[in-house]
Symmetry: C2
Subunit: 294 residues, 2 copies
Amino acid sequence: MRKIIVVTGASNGFGRLASNALARAGHTVYASMRETTGRNASRAAEVKAFASQHGADLDVTSQESVNAAIAEIISRNNQLDVVVHSADHTAYGPAEAFTPEQLAQLYDTNVVGTQRVNRAALPQLRKQGQGLLVWVSSSGTRGGTPPYRGPYFATKAAMDALAVSYAGELARWGIETTIIVPGSFTKGTNYCAHSGRPADAVRAEEYADGPTADISEIMLRGLAALGPANADPQAVADAIAEVIDTPFGSRPFRVHFEPSDDGAAIVNGVADRARAELLQLIGLEDILKPTIIG
Amino acid sequence: MRKIIVVTGASNGFGRLASNALARAGHTVYASMRETTGRNASRAAEVKAFASQHGADLDVTSQESVNAAIAEIISRNNQLDVVVHSADHTAYGPAEAFTPEQLAQLYDTNVVGTQRVNRAALPQLRKQGQGLLVWVSSSGTRGGTPPYRGPYFATKAAMDALAVSYAGELARWGIETTIIVPGSFTKGTNYCAHSGRPADAVRAEEYADGPTADISEIMLRGLAALGPANADPQAVADAIAEVIDTPFGSRPFRVHFEPSDDGAAIVNGVADRARAELLQLIGLEDILKPTIIG
């Protein structure tokens, strides 16, 4: 079944791979990103290599931009089936060296961005009585948690928590939720090169010169030794496509990909079980699965 | 040993109880809050009932205010031993009905606020080579996760993740971390009455009239039936005092208080174990405990 899908953050990383994989599978995909005629122009050209993939100029940090993009997708198709939340920025460095403004900006893109897209898309999904939200979380929020990624993990932990809350609140509207939990991929996503750095250079220097001087090097070497060097982020994109092709109501709540097995799968397994037990205890077990309406 | 302690959000809730408990134990406590001469004037008067407790005008949403308050505490005592992060705002309602601005504001108080205080206080703690950060988290971020608290849980999940990252990055500077994880207290903290409500009344109404109409009532009744009616938040404050009186280097990484046993203790137990294992695997097991310097 051909679906109408919007993917945020489709200019690079998992969003780009997922968007192409979904277009290849024949879905109508709106690969959304900022600046389709600016710095993402070459990516926007790549999008057009697939007949069923369309670029969408959508900046998750602007409600106006989000509203316009989602409204146009809905008006063209009279339908919207799936939202894939994969827009995010990363950051690398000692937490203390990031300014409060940097933390707020990361949250704005990685978490408030999903809220803007949800507020634009959910009225249509609720009206349809059927839909799917796919959230691209991170294993680092609940797994091994190596140092120097605090501001980033904070936003992904928040996004994951928001996804879990939305899942229960949307179930009776016929909206399903799947949370994708990728681990650390050394190939293809290039997180270190693209990560935001601390704006407070003086503090960063104190950590680089102090007792923490070798933490970054030890960690990066240790993580590289743990993870298989050939772990392919394409597997994450393919899994997103598989989830979307799974029949409504039987999709997994979470899918994990951890090349270095950092423990997130077991932590999330226990957490999701605790959630299910509490909802059963308080008489809300029905919101563990989306209601099949009509 | 008498310690110099600053407690944020000391006007009410756990911050207020902790601040009084620490003053009662003879510590020099700076009970920090906004508007000590305004709406918190009566609380500021209560502070003075303890000889060793002082009010401090500190607004965690303003770096200028935070810097001034922390600088004054340090200049008066030439020392700062403990920071207790307990300032937070809560929110209650369907996630979709909160505006992006409301999510950003909650994050600003509950997460970026801790960053502002850390950036003001940590240079002194690192210079001393000994200190303690106490973070008041929430069981709802990893335990049962009932609906309608999404924007709040998102901020507490972020705060918890940030605390975990800081713990590792500060260990070699001689700074210890304890995360306090309170559950849902029906008595004394009064979260529903003080919670922020969704600003988008139209969306909130759709949830109140739609298939989700009875979710709030079922949940509140279910949670009330689960939790012991007499669970006393004072126990959380007493535990904070106990942690502070525990010798440096042997304090617990987490302390849980869950009147209704929502599963957070076991989820966090598995998560903290996964973190410890990863740090051991990559050769950073030393940052699991603060270094004893000098």
